[in-house]
Symmetry: C2
Subunit: 350 residues, 2 copies
């Protein structure tokens, strides 16, 4: 029996941010696919679509009319999952029937008036406007007494449940800290108390030394495939400086975030020469007024595609009931993404 | 401000088996859907398909040939995610880079030689044969030294990543206890130590008293929508008797499991008059030779459809980054399923 190596042998890896494991089956990358294929993405869109409820000047649900905006535009979600008027209360029948009321505010952010664009096709200076809106919204929402967490995210692509191709993201802010950030709070706190540095500072430094999973960098941010990635091309953007939330970013760092957001998503689009679907979002410290020196700002990207523009990874059966599983290793995924051009495939001239 | 009630107001509920929360937004059920619609399911299939690698007598990947089986047929997965020959070893660079080798055995179980069937369309006596195979396999795999958990599951439908419509399920057995059963082990143990009864005995009794979320029953099993359900029509089958695994079932209880599996899936098919997709699987005690008096056998069903045969719930953005979210409440889902006929829509005569 030869000795174990994680390039060839099935193994599990630990995610130190959530303390969950992922099962990796490197030998299985050559499995043929006879299952469902997705519709190819039609990414030729007009700059203005009269039927789009996010385009400037158009009507939304409930008779609201969008202003004639240029750049970004923010409004309260017409079908908010959370609302401010929720009465407080709880169900507490022993340990088996427990519920708590939850209040919050849900917003939609249009990234641009141009219906045909996506982040990788936008100019960095226009993505910077999106970053500025995130900061404003984080400040406004996070500043409210009843809001203790602000979740900023983007669902991109119909395959990711996005019901409108107009470039946009969302913010759901809530009275309690959601499940995933709560897990990350605990692990980061335990690490910080032990080492006096943030978990992600040490992790980032180790990755920069190894270079194996680094994708793109600038002066302020690094994009990499985490060692414990679950989705085939899952990535993470980490700030070089340990900041707890986006309000602590300097002007240059805001530019850096816009720049790396574009660099990474250009790689994504180039992978299968398609508008690459994902859910992405920022993880930051809670906004309950406490201090969180252990928190380190980062952004997760969870993209579903596996081997082409139409074949995705299904997180089903074993993944739902037992442990998430992947075939291609984090290192192979990083290598493939790193090797791609830095220019968007649609814009390449020669 | 009127007082909180979980029928009308956004709230979160606790899953006592995993200690995770789900966000419920009951007011949001009327949200229109403009996003992706799935392909309608073509469920007219021949009894034998010459191109199907699971049909009797046909060739599989790697030149294996299926025998001329009738009833069930079990073989080792040609693209197993886990293998027996994995060398033992680990990566342990501080707390941030941790990996452990994982070995195991993956099997495929054909439920019937008849390519056109699905569980809700099979006779209970033929589903009983599937239950018997589960028992045999659980005994054989669980009896091996290096196998400490046996995960039996079924992915049904292309939308659930099932690459072949021939009625079949899978078993992935592994050297370590996977993430989900490990969580359920801890919570069940804590409950048992405190109360001297299994968590699910007490939960089942409370649900039988309330009746609100019960779907179908027989002498040995009950199917219900758990209070903490995440997927729109998520359900759970619980054994009335607190058994730790399927080998402890009596002959009559095995029949009972086959019967309730059919009853529940008939309801599912009737909901949207389509072959209803889901991932389902048994959760049972680990097979490491220890005693697990706290473990209570149950089967989870995670179906993706939301409002029709072609519109599913997307667990994306907020769900991946923050907390799983649902619109329709567990009680509304239970009511809808309960009200459906007990006869399969295709077989109704009058
Ligand atoms: O084994 P299959 O049917 O080829 O594959 C399916 O089930 C597996 C176990 O749930 C998943 O890991 C795969 O993503 C899914 O496509
Ligand atoms: O808010 P949308 O875009 O209508 O809806 C989408 O994102 C939400 C938040 O991630 C999800 O809960 C929905 O399932 C998804 O379809």
């Amino acid at each position: 029996m030869n000795s174990f190596n994680s390039k060839d042998h099935p193994h599990k890896r630990l995610n130190p941010l959530t303390n969950d494991w992922v099962l990796v089956s490197p030998h299985r990358s050559k499995r043929p696919w006879q299952g469902q294929v997705e519709k190819a993405i039609v990414d030729e869109r007009p700059q203005y679509d009269p039927a789009c409820y996010l385009c400037a000047g158009n009507e939304r649900a409930g008779g609201h009319k969008n202003p004639d905006y240029k750049g970004t535009f923010v409004f309260t979600n017409d079908f908010s999952a959370l609302m401010t008027e929720t009465p407080e209360g709880e169900v507490n029948e022993g340990s088996l029937f427990q519920a708590k009321s939850e209040s919050g505010i849900c917003k939609v952010i249009c990234f641009s008036e141009n219906h045909s664009l996506t982040i990788p096709e936008m100019d960095v200076k226009d993505i910077r406007k999106v970053v500025d809106v995130w900061c404003e919204q984080f400040k406004e929402l996070g500043g409210k007494d009843q809001i203790n967490y602000v979740q900023i995210f983007e669902n991109k692509g119909a395959i990711m449940g996005c019901s409108n191709p107009h470039p946009h993201g969302q913010i759901w802010s809530s009275s309690s800290v959601p499940v995933e950030p709560a897990k990350e709070s605990e692990t980061q706190k335990a690490y910080f108390e032990k080492h006096g540095r943030t978990l992600l500072s040490d992790y980032l430094q180790a990755e920069l030394d190894k270079k194996e999973r680094i994708l793109v960098e600038n002066d302020h941010f690094v994009a990499l495939v985490p060692y414990w990635a679950v989705w085939p091309f899952e990535t993470m953007i980490v700030s070089r400086r340990a900041v707890q939330n986006i309000l602590q970013l300097t002007d240059a760092e805001r530019d850096g975030l816009a720049d790396i957001y574009k660099q990474l998503t250009v790689k994504y689009d180039n992978l299968f020469e398609t508008s690459f679907a994902y859910s992405a979002g920022l993880h930051q410290a809670p906004t309950d007024g406490q201090d969180y020196p252990e928190w380190h700002l980062h952004m997760h990207f969870y993209p579903p595609l596996l081997r082409s523009a139409t074949v995705k990874k299904f997180m089903v059966g074993y993944e739902m009931l037992a442990t998430p599983q992947r075939d291609i290793t984090a290192e192979q995924a990083a290598q493939r993404l790193r090797d791609l051009s830095d220019n968007h495939y649609k814009s390449t001239i020669n």
